[in-house]
């Protein structure tokens, strides 16, 4: 009812100033968050990561931002605050949550972004693709794009990697904003879905990577399937063959213009091809989503799953065959293996690290729980959108299909997140979104004034409670996301000393030599990717990192390299092994002492955070 009432002029004026306050709150929270984050210095010496070292103004900024968002979302009876205000608040949230690390340090987080820069650099030097090098060269689409963009624009690769999370989140949110427009007409639900998508995004997959690019294209394809390629399905009558056939034949295209549908289909096929050429996992996620939507009768081109399978099979059979020969895709399939690699193996390490892992699980479960409650609520009211449910649930089907280096659950939760967020809105927003706000609603002019005032008071109280509950939920989710997302900061935020050591290692290692690091979070291989064989001590020694067993293994490996070897020990790589419970607090000091006493091993570079040893053959 209130949604149909028009706000008075006075209310409009008051609302304009409220919008201005919300926008200003966004500026204040951004200033607080950026100012606070920039006071943090690397290295982050805490097992809980950034959450433990960010000063209180950061959290004040997070609090102000979430409250401002809820106030803007409440808006008035006509709807939420105007689009520029809402978009500004979302931009601030992206900068606060996904740019935090960039305000702490000017070095990109994590090892993999450096490696991806190295692959793009290697491609631009070789100017061809050799699929025998490694898996990346079997899915080179993203790296080819990156090579061209970096060379043509003259952008600083490290700066691009540093800000990639913010850029990728911007792309994902743009796609999600369009996509949700086809699933709900309620602007409050759409904005809240975007907000929750940010607040639930602890997975940290938005760095400079093929999966981030693939996820963007995946969302665009889903938007096209829900928009111009959507179908209207008749009422479902049952599973009897005749009923199913009649139901399937009764579908009709939602878009009346055939030319537009053909254009959208051509774009979809182009995007599917690019996804298939760029990343191993995303095409399978897409295939599952496309198939589920098609079988639900909500996609007009019914052969799209088949076409996707053909494109995927052709890619696996030809350009990616070199990788698949050595890595059968279903070799480590099974629910037990997936559970062990994705869940059990991750819940170990120091107390702080285990707590971070538990927070990630809790955040995922909270959002899934909210989405389940929202789905239940929608179903009871006969408003459940089967498309949202299918897109939220189907990624789970891939969980037992591949261990994926223990990251499958992370990827599954990311691909489900947009639709989990949208479904969670059903429980976080009142059934009628306009009831979140009482501003602008008019009291009846006829009798029974007292009863009307009491009802209005009750409505107002409920509205404030709903808004307060929503603000509290958002703040809690923000704290959990910062904890989960930056929980590895002890080892994935690098110092300048470590970067200097890596540069020294690359300078000292002759072409063809072996380069050895202590463990995987090492910011190396961004240059001369193909010039060295790289291994980590963790890889060489597997489960036993004791000096007695591991020392000779590393030494023999280094000595066997005819062009020599360079060994790098960094603070972050030691910290990762300690944090994840692989090695004790002593790090590699004993191993370094043993190696230093061997023939042909000399310390050639050292600073506070790193040592570089040269091993002559």
């Amino acid at each position: 009812m209130t949604g149909t009432l028009e706000a008075t002029t006075r209310t409009k004026e008051r609302w304009k100033s409220r919008e201005a306050w919300c926008a200003l709150a966004g500026v204040v929270s951004l200033a607080l968050a950026v100012g606070a984050a920039s006071t943090v210095t690397a290295p982050v010496d805490n097992d809980l990561g950034l959450v433990a070292v960010l000063p209180y103004p950061f959290w004040a900024g997070v609090l102000i931002l979430n409250v401002a968002f809820v106030v803007a979302l409440r808006g008035d009876a006509a709807g939420p605050a105007r689009r520029p205000v809402m978009i500004w608040l979302v931009v601030v949230l992206v900068l606060v949550l996904f740019g935090t690390a960039a305000f702490v340090t000017d070095i990109p987080r994590g090892e993999i972004a450096f490696r991806h820069l190295g692959i793009a650099d290697a491609l631009s030097h070789t100017q061809g693709i050799d699929p025998d090098i490694d898996g990346y060269f079997n899915w080179p689409g993203f790296f080819a794009l990156l090579s061209t963009v970096l060379r043509a624009t003259g952008l600083d690769p490290v700066a691009l990697a540093l800000w990639a999370p913010v850029l990728n989140m911007g792309l994902w949110l743009a796609a999600l904003a369009v996509l949700t427009g086809y699933l709900t007409r309620d602007p409050r639900r759409r904005y809240l879905a975007l907000w929750l998508f940010c607040l639930g995004n602890w997975q940290d997959q938005d760095y400079l990577s093929p999966q981030a690019f693939g996820f963007f294209l995946h969302l665009v394809v889903i938007a096209l399937l829900l928009g111009p390629l959507a179908a209207r399905a008749p009422q479902f009558r049952g599973f009897r063959r005749a009923d199913l056939a009649a139901w399937w034949r009764g579908r009709s295209p939602a878009e009346p213009r055939p030319g537009y549908r053909v254009g959208a289909l051509v774009i979809t096929l182009l995007l599917i091809t690019v996804i298939v050429a760029s990343h191993q996992l995303t095409p399978f996620m897409l295939l599952i989503g496309v198939t589920a939507l098609t079988l639900s009768g909500r996609v007009w081109p019914s052969r799209l799953p088949l076409i996707t399978i053909v494109v995927l099979t052709l890619w696996l059979a030809y350009p990616a065959s070199a990788y698949l020969l050595g890595h059968p895709p279903l070799a480590d399939a099974g629910l037990e293996a997936a559970t062990e690699a994705n869940v059990l193996d991750r819940v170990r390490g120091t107390d702080g690290h285990v707590l971070v892992v538990q927070v990630r699980a809790l955040l995922t479960l909270v959002l899934w729980g909210l989405a389940a409650a929202g789905a239940w609520r929608d179903w009871r009211r006969g408003r459940l959108d089967i498309r949202v449910v299918l897109l939220a649930v189907t990624p789970l089907l891939l969980f037992p299909a591949q261990v994926y280096g223990g990251e499958m659950l992370i990827r599954v939760s990311l691909f489900a997140l947009p639709f989990i967020a949208l479904q969670a809105c059903s429980v976080l927003l009142p059934t009628d979104g306009s009831k979140l706000s009482t501003v602008g609603s008019k009291l009846p002019a006829d009798g029974s004034k007292r009863r009307s005032y009491l009802a209005a008071d009750d409505s107002k109280r409920r509205s404030y409670l709903a808004a307060g509950g929503l603000a509290l939920t958002c703040v809690l989710l923000a704290v959990l996301t910062v904890t989960g997302r930056f929980g590895n900061a002890r080892y994935d935020v690098f110092t300048h000393d470590e970067i200097d050591a890596v540069a020294a290692m690359q300078r000292l290692a002759p072409p063809g030599s072996a380069i050895i690091s202590a463990a995987h979070p090492t910011p190396w291989r961004s240059e001369a990717y193909l010039d060295h064989r790289s291994r980590t001590i963790e890889d060489l020694c597997r489960s036993d990192l004791s000096t007695a067993r591991c020392g000779p293994l590393v030494y023999d490996y280094a000595r066997r390299s005819t062009a020599g070897a360079v060994l790098l020990i960094t603070r972050s790589s030691e910290a990762s092994l300690v944090l994840q419970g692989v090695r004790g607090a002593g790090g590699f000091s004993e191993l370094e002492k043993w190696l230093g006493a061997q023939n042909g091993v000399e310390l050639v570079f050292s600073n506070v955070d790193a040592r570089v040893y040269r091993v002559t053959p």
């Binding site: 693709i129 689409g141 794009l145 061209t148 963009v149 774009i267 182009l270 760029s278």
Partner: protein, 113 residues
């Protein structure tokens, strides 16, 4: 084909693609080179290709500009790497040609309607 029936936007896109391709190839100081290269590699081809569809939704249209521009550049770059003929200059020229061809196709659509 009647030139007068071609929209100004189609003409502007085609001419901008040619001009910016040349400017990008010649080279500019870094921030300008970045802007010119992103325009000629992603935004202009994306816009020209998106206009070939009958998309009327502004938000979807804007999204398609980005998605199509990035996807087309990925296809061109990857194909060049597989054919061992890659250079960033060749990519710039190819994306410029794609933009001009898409504008010509759009001009034909405009002329017939």
């Amino acid at each position: 084909m009647n030139i007068g029936s071609i929209s100004r936007l189609t003409l502007a896109l085609g001419l901008s693609a040619v001009a910016l391709s040349l400017i990008t190839l010649v080279g500019l100081p870094t921030p300008l080179q970045t802007i010119a290269a992103i325009a000629v590699l992603v935004l202009l081809p994306g816009q020209a290709l998106a206009r070939l569809t009958q998309v009327t939704d502004i938000a979807l249209g804007a999204l398609l500009v980005l998605a199509l521009g990035l996807a087309a550049l990925t296809v061109v770059s990857t194909a060049m790497f597989y054919l061992a003929v890659w250079s960033w200059q060749a990519c710039v020229v190819s994306m410029g040609v794609i933009t001009v061809l898409a504008c010509m196709a759009r001009a034909r659509q405009e002329a017939t309607t």
